[in-house]
Symmetry: C2
Subunit: 312 residues, 2 copies
């Protein structure tokens, strides 16, 4: 059997084993692992950018590649209500890579490191046939950690901001559509939403950053919380610019929001009593029934397609 037959989620399930060390508070399956260290809690995550998959030098500058690699990890740390502190940068680079690329990459890495106060404490360099930027990030938990497994039936599903812009930007590039600079920028310069994450954390049951699309994040939360959800098509927040950009290339922006990903907003589930205290867009509800529905034009249909699969 090949990986494109089994799929990413089943594969992760297959290789996951429960941790034995009791200092492992959260293992595989959330935005980051959580480890007890003396009185504190450390969160650790790793994420990878592969050339011509997660980025292309056709429309990313080297600096933007470095920035993206750091922001996507910072986003995972933020979704655990933690402060990013340290990072290790592991690179595969073809021997023909230019010094210009590496200098630009690190300019991007350090610019984000400086913004958030992160130290680059280590890494590795080796050669390969394609550029792979793999960053491990370590953060310090601020307090309560809103896990994916903690959603409760009745919770409101919140998006901390508009979705779909990054995928709209990608499609503008792919279709060589001029204009829409602001939408394209959302693709090449995604930002972690640390402040939004910290503000939400106090009031949420479950939280996750939106890297693989709303449908995928809701599915992750539901799978781990053993519940289901109804997402309301009309309520999916998409900016005017994104709608306009999607129309210009004949595509549906809400599908970008559902299945595209890389917006790095927070998807959180909030109990009714806290709803007035949080900022964000309500996009649906958590249900007891363990299925995920999309409510569109008054009809409720089960959501089959559920976000980006790396091996599909």
């Amino acid at each position: 059997m090949r990986l494109n037959e089994i799929g990413e989620h089943n594969l992760i399930k297959r290789i996951t084993r429960k941790a034995k060390n009791r200092n492992v508070l959260v293992g595989i399956g959330d935005d980051a692992a959580v480890i007890k260290t003396g009185k504190g809690k450390m969160v650790i995550t790793v994420d990878t950018l592969v050339e011509n998959d997660h980025f292309t030098l056709k429309w990313f500058t080297p600096k933007q590649v470095g920035m993206k690699a750091m922001e996507i990890n910072t986003s995972d740390i933020g979704a655990m209500n933690a402060i990013p502190r340290y990072a290790l940068v592991s690179l595969c680079l073809p021997k023909t890579t230019t010094l210009n690329f590496v200098d630009g990459l690190y300019k991007g890495i350090y610019s984000v490191a400086d913004k958030y106060g992160i130290d680059i404490v280590g890494g590795n360099m080796t050669h390969g046939h394609e550029i792979v930027v793999d960053i491990t990030m370590i953060g310090e938990a601020k307090g309560k950690i809103p896990l994916r497994s903690n959603a409760r039936p009745g919770d409101y599903i919140i998006s901390s901001g508009n979705l779909g812009a990054s995928t709209a930007g990608l499609n503008l590039f792919l279709k060589k559509k001029s204009g829409f600079a602001a939408v394209k920028k959302k693709h090449v310069e995604p930002k972690a939403k640390l402040k939004k994450a910290y503000a939400l954390a106090k009031y949420t049951n479950a939280m996750e950053d939106c890297s693989d699309g709303l449908a995928s994040e809701v599915r992750n939360i539901c799978a781990q919380s053993k519940c289901g959800a109804v997402i309301e098509w009309d309520k999916i927040p998409v900016s005017r610019e994104t709608i306009k950009a999607a129309k210009a290339i004949g595509l549906e922006s809400k599908n970008f929001a559902l299945f595209g990903g890389e917006d790095f907003e927070l998807i959180a589930t909030v109990p009714k009593k806290h709803l007035s205290k949080v900022k964000g867009f309500v996009v649906g509800r958590i249900t007891k029934e363990k299925k995920i529905y999309l409510k569109k034009n008054g009809k409720k249909e089960q959501l089959e397609k559920a976000g980006y699969d790396h091996f599909a």
Copy 2:
């Protein structure tokens, strides 16, 4: 300028910046970073295997790939006199990868994890054109950490065991030479030498695991300790089997020891007063003069070539 012109070591120097957080006790440049966590110290390292560079499925089983990926990181943790605790596994896999490969890989990863008591707490999976296995490992410092920067003129340079076998094994495979199973096994099943590392740590000034060859490790130690060294050709320890294997393919086993790497013995510098307390082979001395010499047939020549360079 391209990376093959600047070289790995200059590149690392170029991208390294001093850490700002005072909890970073050791940053880029040693076997692992060291971070203060409350009362303890955490060490963190990352290392990568790329298909057809660090391994090939022509002579590695998937399980051996997983084992190697874990052992080489464990070796770095050991060289810092630390206990390996947690690992994150970040994979790039072609979509056509078989489930059989992934199952075997994780069998190897978990077999080493179980041997040392390491928990796999996270990771990432994405697709790429070649298999990349990137492991981040976190350990807990046992006590004194023998840094690369701490060698002193007059120190004896020690290898904790025989060198050159892994590269001899690789060359046997490359030349399709039958026999020499034990030497080949050193290449496909390298082992971290944790016990040797812990035993040495107390008495060494500097220590490093031998991943890129004796010449490279001595050069690293000298560069960071601002000193030089004399390595004695006659004293470089190579097993009889390795000598025999090298001869059978018409190559010089001591060159494997000097420039080959992947033996994962410890290279340590030990002050005279502790020499009688350590087990290992004396291979040379640390000198005040900041040059590295090889003494061979009574002649002292400067060692120009200095180990594996990933971009050469």
